[in-house]
Symmetry: C2
Subunit: 400 residues, 2 copies
């Protein structure tokens, strides 16, 4: 295959989400990602599972990678990483700050082995400061970056978490772009590598700023960011479900009045200007809500559509699979995973007209590629058997 | 400066958020982004404002770009774009599907002018299918991608929007990485460009899948994704505010019991295994909530910290600016904007040890660089004056 990242070798010591979701995008785009796991394996492998071998989250975050299982508490395990890094393009880790240096695999060490290496460190809070060594979970980063404040229903309501791990995944996308940019610069420059650092708290605040945190932009004239936060969002109950619809421009509002058969609202002074519609949002949304309750989603969506008002059904997660537009996009594909049976995965969001994306990528069993990867480093079968015997590296057992 | 993207020229016809937030990251990393605006300007320029010249959202989404104001309803305006594209690396637009072709600036046309061009199209739903020509707002994409279903408080609660524009900004990050990857591939290959397409609905589903949509992975054995969704999230009210804290491992739970002075929970069969803590989450979270109400946030955070339990204050947006860790990270910096006075902006999430990031980037006034950019295309002052006179291009007036 010839993906945009093909030909690049990434040695990936990261685990859980923020690192693996960054490198899986690069694997989808063709990179050879060698996932280095401890004998316990990435904790996401079994998350939420009983006896089965691999969680759905692990499948998506690690598809198309190769797994090598090394005990990095052993000196000879650490030496294997140094050997792996000799001809690698990228090295990535998301241990707590200081850990990788204590393992003997800090940037200075690896740079001396391979000056062209892009060394990537993901942390929760950064490498210094009062929180630097704290434990990190996604809700902790949410709490520090204003997400629960944004999600509160009104200016007096309690803050609320977003129920998906936004900071982890935003960090992953930010890191994937930064790695790609560093490779691009290296390609055009003198071939030297560098150290790329991404803190989850930084990536999340940068992500939120253009809108969620924009009110903090004017120094000394900060907006009262919660004032005006609407108690009600744009979800409306119909006779048989939920839809969203909204009107920003005058022409959209006119379409809304026609679709809802409330033409009297077209002359209503509360609603007939953009300013009025914002000022009287509560009355407007409640009025719309009362009307929308009276018929089914399908009836309303057809009417709103006919009047060119932005609208959509509010889909439950299983309904996503049945939606005609999503089917049309050939986004979600089904294929066989050797250990799991038939699985469903989405391709990456961006489509390239010339570059290939890895098709039907498989998430590896723990240590599935231990022998193959070590062999490519020049180790003989006897060397590998001896490392396995000493417990330095691991290969899959029959029952895993 | 020598950012990872410096030396690349991007002709940017995109507006609002999904395109501008993609290209602003590349501008921060050194690209020369030429923002092409209609005489009305990007609608985000004045969003939420009265008479002032530039919204905070516009500042963040367009800092470091140059603005050229061209009326693309005029044939000679369209010709100027073709001239701009001759030596460009990237062309990006987020009109509804079909519009760019009708303007005479489709991929086939621009590719003939410049075969090395990376042509980027962002759409809401994709270029074909039943929704392709519908109007797009962020809530519409949220509704179609399961975000409100994920945000619902329980399996019987109504769906809820996330109160920040996740699909728009996830699309932006996805697009920024895809552009960087396409440039990298071009650099290493035969120098040919290509067409990169990103649909918001695709990018959002791909973003959510590793966790929020993971339950749809196993074909024929889909998880009942809402079952087990907790009514309560990890935000707890204290005597004087809100904190988050959580315990996943046994050792973290032990720390939690010690910090909360509830050592009896260490032997409580409901809570003393990871399985039990998940099964009895409601009782556990309510119990924790009762205890945490009794003292201030500062007291609890110190105790939790002492026992190595993941925790943080739940910050309101203004409090983010005062947080010691965020200050330490030198993430948010203040500087003077010529038209707005002192502003505050975050640097991008990723830090590079060797590459520069543009410092103190300024968002341009509408048409601020019209003359400069046209001059660089070889147009004389008389040519430019004549285009201005004919209303084909615009320069800032004194009052803008």
């Amino acid at each position: 295959m010839s993906g945009p990242l093909s030909g690049f070798k990434i040695v990936d010591l990261s685990s859980v989400i923020s690192g693996p979701v960054a490198t899986v995008l690069l694997a989808d785009q063709g990179a050879d990602v060698i996932k280095v796991e401890s004998p316990q394996g990435d904790i996401v492998r079994r998350m939420g599972l009983g006896a089965t071998s691999m969680s759905p989250g692990f499948v998506t975050a690690n598809r198309g990678k190769r797994s090598i299982c090394i005990d990095l508490k052993e000196d000879s395990g650490v030496e294997l990483i140094k050997k792996l890094v000799e001809d690698a393009d990228v090295f990535i880790q998301n241990f707590r700050p200081g850990v990788i240096e204590r393992m003997g695999l800090g940037y200075d060490v690896l740079k001396a082995i391979n000056p062209k290496l892009i060394f990537v460190s993901i942390s929760g809070f950064g490498e210094t400061g009062p929180y630097a060594h704290k434990r990190v979970y996604d809700p902790v980063i949410q709490a520090l970056t204003g997400l629960p404040d944004i999600q509160a229903d009104s200016d007096r309501a309690r803050p609320k978490m977003m129920r998906t791990i936004i900071p982890d995944k935003v960090t992953a996308l930010t890191t994937a772009q930064a790695i790609t940019a560093a490779l691009l610069e290296r390609e055009r420059g003198d071939g030297e590598g560098q150290h790329v650092k991404v803190a989850m708290v930084d990536a999340t605040i940068a992500f939120l700023w253009p809108e969620g945190l924009a009110g903090l932009t004017m120094v000394g004239n900060e907006a009262n960011v919660r004032r005006g936060q609407l108690a009600q969002d744009l979800i409306f109950e119909t006779k048989d479900g939920y839809i969203t619809c909204g009107a920003v421009s005058d022409s959209e509002w006119e379409g809304m009045c026609l679709a809802l058969d409330r033409t009297e609202w077209m002359d209503d002074e509360r609603f007939n200007t953009p300013f009025g519609r914002v000022k009287n949002a509560k009355a407007r949304l409640e009025g719309m809500g009362d009307v929308l309750k009276s018929k089914t989603s399908a009836v309303w969506l057809e009417r709103l559509e006919a009047h060119d008002v932005p609208c959509a059904p509010v889909l439950s997660r299983p309904e996503i699979l049945q939606n005609e537009q999503i089917k049309n996009n050939e986004l979600i594909f089904e294929y066989e995973h050797p250990n799991l049976g038939q699985i469903r995965q989405p391709r990456p969001g961006a489509k390239f007209s010339r570059s290939d994306i890895r098709s039907k990528p498989i998430a590896p069993a723990l240590g599935e590629h231990t022998a193959e990867v070590l062999g490519s480093l020049g180790l003989s079968d006897e060397d590998i058997a001896s490392l396995v015997g000493a417990g330095v590296v691991h290969r899959p057992t029959n029952d895993s």
